[in-house]
Every structure is written in structure tokens, then in C-alpha cells.
């Protein structure tokens, strides 16, 4: 596949126009340029390393079929991120029924240990094993969360996107994103506390 030397915005617009006319090759260039971000979104949201590539492929195919509906109102990266997030959102909702709830498996002592580790992490003394334990703990909490909460929290806290960027991707107002973020955080904290009381 021929690869341009200096791909810039103008070049990208040309690829998009050609892809909109049904040309496959320029779409391949777009895939190459944006695959890293799509892989990142998919991995952060789905958290299944083995499934990431298949899901990313489905997202790019969906994007090709829908590219005629892209009218340059937002950047192509944002538009593509929207396609990716929507696809992952559907995937999460499909998977939700078959998902295992891990939190009940975590004892109070291990939770306290993780909290102490989290505190240590702020002073930079967390070793790799502890880092993995803390990551898994948060991962499990996210897995328990409703798909809406998970998507918005991951985009904000893990992908570290701005509220404005999230609003563009999710096609929402900035104020709506703020409210949803607040509710998602609150629900997650309540969920932790409920789980503790349930023990």
C-alpha cells in the first residue's frame, strides 16, 4: 500500500473525500493513521486484549460504510472515536448479561490493602505487582458499572479527554457530560460502600 510521506490535514481531507466515493486505498491510509487511537479506546473500554483487534476491525468497517455521513462538522478523529465508542458501548451492553461480578470475591482485607497501596502510589512507591493489583481492582469496579458510567469514566479518567472532547464524541452538551460524570462517580462510590455493607 502506497503511503504518503507527509500526511497532514489537507491530505486527510483528500483521503476522506476519496473514501466517500468508495475508494478503498485512501481509507487504508486513514486506518493506518487512526488505528492507534481506536485500539486505545477499544482496549480501555472493553479490556479484553484478545478481542481488541477484531473489534477495531469491525469499527473501521462500520466507519467505511458510514463515511458518506461524515460532513466535516467535527474532526475525523472525533467522528471515528464516536463510531468506536458507540460500537464498544453496544459490545459492553451485549456482554453485560454474561459478565461475572468480581467485587463479592474481594475481601475487606484485600480491599484495605489496595487502598493502602493506592495511597502509596501517590508517593511513587508502588511496585509493579501492586500496580497490577490496583489496576485489576479498578478494572473490576468498572466492569460492575453500567455501560454509560463506564464509557464516560474511562474517557475522562483513563483516556484523559477533556469534557469538551467527550461531549463531541458522545454528541452531548458539555453540561450534560459534567452531570453524567458526577453521577457516575457518585454511583461508583456508593457501589463500593454498598458492597462493603453487604459483607
Amino acid at each position: 500500500m502506497e503511503r504518503p510521506d507527509t500526511p497532514d490535514v489537507k491530505q486527510e481531507i483528500d483521503w476522506i473525500h476519496r473514501a466517500q466515493r468508495g475508494e478503498r486505498e485512501p481509507f487504508g491510509f486513514l486506518v493506518e493513521r487512526h488505528q492507534r487511537r481506536v485500539f486505545s479506546i477499544v482496549y480501555r473500554l472493553v479490556r479484553r486484549r484478545d478481542d481488541v483487534e477484531d473489534i477495531a476491525q469491525e469499527i473501521f468497517i462500520k466507519a467505511f460504510l458510514a463515511i458518506g455521513g461524515y460532513h466535516f462538522e467535527s474532526s475525523f478523529a472525533t467522528w471515528l472515536a464516536r463510531v468506536a465508542v458507540n460500537h464498544c458501548y453496544d459490545y459492553l451492553r451485549r456482554q453485560r448479561s454474561s459478565r461475572v461480578h468480581y467485587f463479592s470475591e474481594m475481601g475487606e482485607e484485600s480491599r484495605r490493602r489496595l487502598e493502602r497501596r493506592a495511597e502509596q502510589q501517590t508517593s511513587g512507591v508502588l511496585n509493579p505487582e501492586e500496580q497490577v493489583a490496583l489496576r485489576d481492582y479498578t478494572d473490576r469496579l468498572l466492569e460492575r458499572a453500567p455501560a454509560d458510567d463506564r464509557v464516560i469514566l474511562v474517557l475522562k479518567e483513563v483516556e484523559e479527554l477533556s469534557v469538551q472532547e467527550i461531549a463531541e464524541i458522545l454528541n452531548l452538551n458539555v453540561s450534560t457530560v459534567k452531570v453524567r460524570l458526577h453521577r457516575a462517580r457518585k454511583r461508583m462510590l456508593l457501589d463500593i460502600q454498598k458492597s462493603e455493607r453487604g459483607k
Partner: protein, 156 residues
């Protein structure tokens, strides 16, 4: 400071050490202290997740996507054709139904299709009563003239 304010503040707090006002509240309120600790744990966890790099695309990923586009376009086109066919049949059936309804309403109530109708299909109650009265009187009168020998044959 109220407990709701603490939860609201968590959205904005980026640093790990609480402000003096918050510290005072956390010292007095165990629920908020708990929420604060949980939130710190979560934030550290989110950071740990962010540091976990996604898997890289395998070699030739873009080319594989491009190769799959033909199949995807074909199946999408086939699906669109099926939908179009179903939609066309639906529209045709709706048109036929509408035409039948229009015909049913537009056809006169009598005629070769519907058979002979009454001359005056719509009568007022008064007309109905008066006709009924006429008929009864007429029948009675005609019967009596035909059958009664006194008024019938004797007068002639």
C-alpha cells in the same frame, strides 16, 4: 461544609491532599472520609489503567481491513436490497388497501355491483311514521272492501 459539597468537590479535586476546609470536614465526618479514601483509590486505579498500554495493531492490520471492505460492502448492499424489497412490497400492499378503501367508499350504494337499492334510503322519523300509517290504513281499507260483502258486492 456539607457532605453533598464534598461529593461535588471530588469532581474538581485533582491533587491528592485535601484543602484545609475539606481536611476539617473529613476529620469530623467518617462518611465523607470514607468517600474521600475511596475516591483516591479509584483515581489511583484509573491512573494505573491509563498506564496499561493497549496492544499494538498487528502487522498488516490496515491491509486486512481494506481486504474485508469488499465483503462488508457486498453484505451491506444485500441487506439494503432485502430491506428495499420488503419496503417496496409494504408500500404496494398499502396502496392496494388504500385503493380498495377508496373504491368501497366511492361506489354508489346501488347499481349493478351492489344490486337494487331503495329509492329513498334516508327517511326522517316523521316520514317513516306517516308511511307506516298510510300503509296500515290502506291495507285495512282495501282488505275490507275486497272481503266484506256488505261494502263489496252489495253496493254494485
Amino acid at each position: 461544609m456539607r457532605c453533598e459539597d464534598v461529593i461535588a468537590m471530588l469532581d474538581e479535586i485533582r491533587e491528592d491532599s485535601p484543602s484545609e476546609t475539606l481536611r476539617q470536614h473529613l476529620a469530623a465526618c467518617s462518611t465523607c472520609a470514607r468517600a474521600w479514601n475511596d475516591w483516591r483509590t479509584l483515581r489511583s486505579g484509573f491512573r494505573a489503567l491509563a498506564e496499561d498500554a493497549p496492544p499494538p495493531a498487528s502487522f498488516g492490520f490496515a491491509s486486512r481491513v481494506v481486504r474485508r471492505l469488499d465483503d462488508a460492502v457486498d453484505s451491506s448492499r444485500a441487506a439494503a436490497q432485502v430491506i428495499e424489497r420488503v419496503a417496496r412490497r409494504f408500500v404496494l400492499a398499502t396502496l392496494l388497501l388504500a385503493m380498495s378503501l377508496v373504491l368501497a367508499l366511492a361506489l354508489p350504494s346501488s347499481g349493478p355491483v351492489r344490486g337494487p337499492g331503495r329509492d329513498e334510503p334516508y327517511l326522517t322519523q316523521t316520514e317513516v311514521n306517516s308511511r307506516a300509517g298510510d300503509s296500515l290504513l290502506g291495507d285495512e281499507f282495501s282488505d275490507s272492501t275486497a272481503a266484506n260483502p256488505v261494502y263489496g258486492g252489495n253496493q254494485k
